[in-house]
């Protein structure tokens, strides 16, 4: 549901032209993690669909599996550069001393909070009380408890989706564009991507950073990095979590100095 909310909001803004768009929000006090930190990546949710001629996304098990591996590898090498230690959860029962239910609860709570962030930060339904305050959401005590028990400083939630236009869809796009010659322009959406990442500080429970990535084009054949390939996955991870901006106050302080 959460991904749906954001996807709907951004679909309209991307659609017409071809572009790569990211939009991130951060807690005003947020400093991107550097040096000696421990990061827990919560089961990355990766799906690759084939876009049918009629425009329906058809999930592909084999492609999704391949892409999940690529995204995980890309996350690993990306984080290695930053210097942190990282564990990527594949299942809910992989944290010693923490029950799968606790992990599930945190995932569900994050779903709800993520939905709220999508609604109030991305779809334009801004809350007047949160204006100019950056990202002000928290997962509360549950997240802190999980951090204390597991010894991790941050939790990262990742969702990545790649819709790859089938041959029929590309043909439809080509015909729609060719129609412009005789005065009937019917551009239709082709391959597109949607991803988001959410960083939770497990020492405070707060969602400190959130980013949404959307790519897409109505021009047939335009691609933005196929996450079925390692290079494409690297590119998506780089766009999504590679350039974390510090929070407003941290940024200002840096400028003053």
């Amino acid at each position: 549901m959460r991904k749906l909310g954001i996807a709907l909001a951004l679909a309209s803004s991307v659609g017409a032209s071809g572009c790569v768009q990211t939009r991130q929000f951060a807690d005003v006090q947020f400093t991107p993690p550097q040096g000696d930190y421990r990061l827990l990546v919560m089961r990355p949710d990766v799906v690759v669909n084939s876009l049918t001629t009629g425009g329906m996304p058809q999930p592909r098990a084999d492609w999704s599996e391949q892409a999940r591996g690529n995204i995980i590898n890309a996350l690993r090498s990306q984080q290695a550069e930053r210097g942190g230690k990282m564990l990527i959860l594949a299942r809910r029962n992989e944290l010693p001393g923490i029950s799968p239910e606790q992990v599930a609860d945190l995932e569900r709570l994050h779903d709800a909070v993520g939905n709220s962030i999508a609604l109030h930060k991305y779809t334009g339904a801004a809350l007047p009380t949160k204006r100019g305050k950056g990202l002000e959401y928290t997962l509360g005590e549950d997240a802190v408890a999980l951090g204390r028990k597991s010894g991790y400083d941050y939790a990262l939630f990742v969702h990545a989706e790649d819709n790859i236009a089938s041959t029929g869809r590309i043909a439809l796009q080509v015909v729609g564009m060719a129609g412009c010659i005789i005065g009937f322009c019917a551009p239709s959406g082709g391959s597109n991507q949607f991803a988001y990442a959410s960083l939770v500080d497990l020492r405070t429970g707060e969602v400190v950073w959130f980013n949404v990535l959307q790519t897409g084009s109505q021009l047939p054949g335009v691609k933005f990095g196929d996450i079925r390939t390692p290079a494409g996955a690297d590119q998506m991870v780089e766009r999504l979590v590679g350039r974390m901006k510090p929070g407003k106050e941290v940024h200002k302080a840096a400028e003053v100095r």
């Binding site: 799906v47 001629t53 009629g54 329906m56 058809q58 999930p59 098990a61 799968p100 599930a104 009937f184």
Partner: protein, 407 residues
């Protein structure tokens, strides 16, 4: 692929397709499907091999994990294994492969997911009068899985949306080339495509009904009970609507399911077809009641709190057709008390008084009876009724309060 989830999908599709809706919303006939034609399309231990079906299943692992870990589930092992036994009896070749989860939701519904797990709502258990009725619902859901309805629906939708996309493009280009505007026809075709998807969905439901009737008859349940479920539901809907001074919803072209009326009619004929003369059928009523006994009070409690007195009163009367008891009488009183119209307090008091005359009256019946007596100024009798409540449920949350009242 659920029992009656028409509301949501109908509305969302109306918004999407949204033309001529009201003018077309008339009764919908769906040809009856003969149970004899319904053979399972999959064998035991089925795993998908086609790309699209594999994709569909791959999405379901996380869904099932989420469902299995939901705190809405009723996890009473005896009850869960009872449901699993039933799917084992009416699940045809996939009997050993399907999983079933019981969700604490006070509505009449059940659904099957593409990878073979079903979710049954607790409100359904309240409405079923015997094991045969429950088996009928479970068999209907099994029917969806055995007839591969999810992937067939998906393919139907894919095919039709492809044809529409190509057709719309061709009409646009052809129109532009010839200098005529065909947009209206494209809109009409869109409506036609949407309606044909709904029609396909209704056909799948009719198949599942026919398959279900066949499965429960083979398992030795009287197949007519499936039709009886719909009769009860129609009565409940009608009563609920009447109380709210509304009309009961009839079928429309935008329904994913055939109307309850047509399902009942078809199931009656199908039941007659699959009934073998001379064979003994057992509705399993006693077994059913003993199995759900531990949660029946909770189910009734959930229902009366829905603030739908029309439906609740009808439901209680339906259940009481097999005999009134203390539990049903107590909740009859609760329906009146919560409805709170002029004279309802007296009606409720009467129900409580009758309820406590049964040996199985719940402790709460004694409390309500006592409080009603107190209001009537019959302090002495009230005290002994309330004392009885405290004796039956000494740790009740309101026990100190009641104790103080009777001093």
């Amino acid at each position: 692929m659920c029992m009656r989830c028409f509301e949501l999908s109908r509305r969302s599709m109306l918004i999407g397709g949204g033309v001529l809706a009201s003018s077309l919303a008339t009764g919908v006939a769906q040809a009856r499907i003969r149970p004899a034609e319904m053979v399972p399309l999959i064998g035991p231990a089925f795993r998908p091999t086609d790309t699209d079906e594999k994709g569909l299943w791959s999405q379901m692992d996380r869904v099932e994990e989420e469902v299995a870990g939901s705190n809405l589930l009723i996890k009473d092992p005896a009850l869960v294994s009872y449901l699993q036994d039933i799917i084992g009896r009416v699940g045809g070749p996939a009997a050993r492969d399907m999983r079933i989860y019981l969700a604490h939701v006070p509505d009449f519904n059940a659904m099957m997911f593409p990878s073979g797990f079903a979710v049954v709502f607790s409100g359904l258990l309240l409405r079923m009068r015997n094991e045969a009725q429950l088996a009928g619902v479970v068999a209907h859901e099994s029917g969806h899985f055995l007839r591969r309805h999810m992937i067939r629906s998906w393919r139907d939708m894919k095919r039709k949306s492809d044809i529409f996309a190509i057709g719309a493009m061709a009409a646009g280009l052809g129109g532009a080339g010839a200098g005529v505007y065909l947009g209206d026809y494209v809109q009409l075709a869109q409506l036609g495509t949407i309606m044909s998807l709904f029609q396909y969905s209704r056909a799948m439901e009719a198949e599942a009904d026919a398959m279900g009737a066949k499965l429960i008859a083979e398992a030795g349940y009287p197949p007519i009970e499936m039709a009886n479920v719909w009769q009860q539901l129609i009565g409940e809907d009608a009563n609920s609507a009447r109380y709210r001074r509304k009309q009961r919803r009839r079928g429309s072209l935008f329904d994913t399911h055939p109307s309850p009326d047509s399902r009942m009619a078809d199931l009656r004929i199908s039941a007659a077809e699959v009934t073998v003369p001379g064979r003994a059928y057992d509705s399993g009523r006693a077994r059913y009641l003993s199995k759900i006994a531990p949660i029946r009070q909770m189910l009734l409690d959930d229902q009366v709190k829905l603030n739908d007195p029309g439906a609740s009163a009808y439901l209680l009367e339906t259940l009481a057709a097999d005999g009134w008891n203390g539990l049903l009488r107590y909740y009859e009183g609760e329906v009146w008390r919560l409805r709170n119209r002029v004279g309802d307090d007296a009606r409720a008091a009467q129900s409580y008084a009758v309820a406590v005359a049964y040996p199985d009256a719940p402790p709460e019946a004694w409390r309500s009876h006592g409080l009603a007596l107190l209001r009537e100024g019959r302090g002495g009798e009230a005290k002994s009724a309330l004392a009885r409540y405290l004796q039956m449920k000494p740790a009740a949350p309101d026990a100190p309060f009641i104790r103080q009242m009777i001093g």
